[in-house]
């Protein structure tokens, strides 16, 4: 049965790899890394692409976009553009997938890398409330969505998932991890007695509290879950998408740190104890590839690695452990990125030349780079939006405010997002933002967009 897909508990690694793994685990623990058990599995490229397309999990709910991702990865592989060496998921036990074509040295490097990720998952404060049984929860989500599809039809459910996904970055990045809030569904495996009690199955999901978050709130999904007129299956899907978004949130908040930490440790472990002379060139080659820089893109491995090295040089190794426990990317860069590290990492700001449309180097000044960098990692680089009113103009219309930080939202997408929001809310929705330095109110009733600005009044917003 497809919805009962359970992988055997680890196919295990062949013996030379298993020996290497045991040694690396031992070294990692000796060095002070602290992690849940890590289960490794070897995958061929197809399996690897599938798991990567599923966002790291072997089982996800059915949806077209996994298929598209899978196809993209297959093509990239065919053309030799991309290779996925490893995937690791935050779970207890941690699951890690290794590509079976990796050279032996690569596997060692990747395993050392994985153990450092596992340490980060377990110890970084922003991961403290993540669901450590997510592997099971994802499989349960898949089973639930399949059930809804059987009753409601593929098209209806898939369309609904598309709507919810288009809002899945509108969650509260701090509420989720710092306050109890609605408990993430599936923090404990769904208990079997749930299955027996037919009534509890029909009840709305636990995370659907009757009142919902207080206004104003950034938790748009949580708000809709509590207040929008949803059929039980729609609420169930929405809750599921929200749980998954919250689960992935800390990973987006700590991308630079997490990769930096893993690179910092794979370097230490590999060059310190694991490598012999034969492997050093392969290692150097692979390592160079992971920290390669491209002019227009930040390589989180490289920046994170440089900063962790700077911390070690200045404050000692103990301080790096402390940093990985308490910080996220924003506070990490704010605290530890200094002029010297910035220069050594070769950072600069760039912008698009208005006339030629080409990207040009702007500045290598530390203040500029730091400001730009912090902006790019704040709120994962997404605009910050709050629901401020659920009865706007006394007409039951939803009102949202975008806190403008100098960059406009992408208008065509914002329009589609508003249309989706209106569809879910069942009434028109408003978004107050700034467009080209003018206060602007976007109102969408599900079919039409009305743009008002500059300086609209609330009265004018209602027909």
């Amino acid at each position: 049965m497809a919805d009962g897909t359970r992988r055997p508990a680890g196919r295990g690694l062949p013996s030379p790899l298993e020996d290497a793994r045991a040694r690396i685990e031992h070294l990692a623990r000796d060095s002070g890394l602290d992690f849940h058990d890590v289960l490794f599995e070897l995958c061929d490229y197809d399996e690897m692409s599938m798991i990567a397309a599923y966002g790291g999990f072997p089982t996800r709910y059915p949806h077209w976009r996994w298929g598209m991702e899978y196809l993209r990865m297959q093509r990239a592989h065919e053309y030799g553009l991309q290779r996925i060496y490893e995937l690791v998921i935050n779970n207890d036990p941690v699951w890690a997938y290794l590509l079976d074509q990796n050279a032996f040295v690569d596997q060692q490097l990747v395993m050392a890398h994985v153990y450092a990720h596992a340490d980060f998952f377990k110890n970084n404060a922003w991961f403290a409330r993540t669901n450590r049984k997510m592997l099971d929860t994802m499989a349960n989500h898949a089973a639930r969505v399949r059930r809804h599809i059987d009753r409601e039809g593929t098209h209806a459910v898939e369309r609904w998932i598309d709507l919810c996904l288009s809002l899945d970055n509108l969650v509260d990045p701090y509420g989720a991890t710092m306050s109890p809030g609605p408990a993430p569904a599936g923090t404990t495996p769904e208990p079997p007695w749930d299955l027996r009690d037919a009534d509890s199955r029909r009840a709305p999901p636990a995370s659907r509290s009757p009142s919902g978050p207080l206004l104003p709130t950034r938790d748009v999904l949580g708000f809709l879950l509590a207040r929008a007129p949803l059929a039980p299956w729609q609420a169930d899907v929405l809750a599921m998408i929200r749980d998954e978004a919250l689960y992935f949130l800390p990973q987006a908040q700590t991308k630079i740190m997490n990769e930096g930490w893993a690179s910092f440790w794979h370097t230490r472990l590999m060059t310190g104890a694991i490598l012999d002379d034969r492997g050093i060139v392969d290692y150097a080659d692979h390592h160079a590839a992971t920290v390669v820089t491209r002019a227009d893109q930040l390589n989180p491995y490289k920046i994170g690695l440089e900063v962790f090295r700077a911390i070690e040089a200045r404050h000692g190794l103990a301080r790096t452990f402390e940093a990985r426990r308490t910080h996220n990317d924003v506070t990490f860069l704010d605290t530890f990125l200094d002029e010297e590290t910035c220069a050594r990492a070769g950072l600069f700001t760039w912008s698009t030349d208005r006339k030629s449309g080409a990207a040009v180097v702007d500045s290598r000044g530390f203040a500029e780079v730091r400001a730009r960098l912090l902006f790019a990692v704040s709120n994962r680089g997404d605009p910050c939006v709050r629901v401020t009113d659920d009865d706007h103009g006394g007409l039951g219309e939803l009102h949202l405010v975008h806190t403008h930080e100098g960059v406009d939202v992408k208008l065509d997408w914002a329009t589609e997002v508003l249309a989706n929001l209106a569809h879910i809310w069942g009434r028109p929705v408003h978004l107050r933002t700034r467009v080209e330095d003018h206060d602007t109110l976007l109102r969408h009733d599900g079919t039409h967009l009305v743009v008002q600005g500059p300086h609209p009044t609330d009265a004018a917003a209602t027909p």
Binding site: L71, T349, V409
Partner: protein
Amino acid sequence: MLPIEHDLERFRQVVKGRVRRDLKRYMASGEMIGRHGDRLVSVPMPEIAIPRLRYGPNGGGGVGQGDGDPGDPLQGPSGEGGAGEQPGAHLLEAELPVEDVAEILGEELQLPRIAPRGHAHLAAIRDRYTGIARAGPRSLRHLRRTFRASLLRQLAEGTWDPARPRLVPERDDTRYRTWNARNDPQSAAAILYVMDVSGSMGREQKEIVRLAAFWIDTWLRTNYHHLETRFVIHDAVAREVDRDTFFRTRESGGTLISSAYQLVERIVAQHYPPGEWNLYLFQFSDGDNWSAADTRTCLDLLRARLLPQLNLFCYGQVESEYGSGQFYNDLRGDVANDERVVLSRLPDRESIMQAIRDFLGRGR
């Protein structure tokens, strides 16, 4: 089979939707190409992104790494800025089964399905009860699968007692039979393509023919169990070539259309007895023939020898600045009343859609 195949299939449905929406553009652009023995059609399309609230391009810029002084253009492969942040800019090459593309073509152009000649079986769409669903009418309950689901559930709950094997199915355990539609075309067909490759047919004219032929193949292929294609080119003499040569060859000689008709007649006589084959003749030309005498020979051949054996004779006149287009008028004056004859003009790529509609709209 990996579970993701199911998601890939769902994505193909999305791609189908896009092809349906943009069919006219796809038909004129020639971006679609057959693959893997023409069982698959490759469809280039932008990646589909789920819209989210994001920053727009007016903040254009960011932080980079590497060499360069202020004012220098960024080094590296992409100078467009905001790399990777413009969804839809990435092209993805999806593949659809040729049947799916034909289905879209048929629905959008409202092509009737072809009723093959002779005593061969009709193409049949049949519903077969081969699937299992969680929802359905009581009359279609599948008891064995229901009890299996019930057993699985009880095992998971821990209430299964092998010493006292008792299964009590609940509502959610119930499984139902469900149907899948199957399309089983039975009969065979052959398409004979004839093209004038004399000097007056230029590159663009050949491209139009190539595109039209792709759609004709696509449609006929799914209407028949078995489809063969033959290619004849001619100037003053005719010869049979493979598909590749057909679309590439350019000669400079004169034009004797009758030479091609004679060759077609020989091919049919040797390989395709009309009692067993549904035969299609598609001729593309700019409408110039060497002499009125040869045109008379052509018409005689058509009437007496070819038409009686054919399901359909389609003449597509690809307009070129050199061609007189006289042959179209000759055919119209002589055989246009025959229901097996379709004449169409293809002045440009945009007209391909209409020509296909003309050619295949008769359901023959």
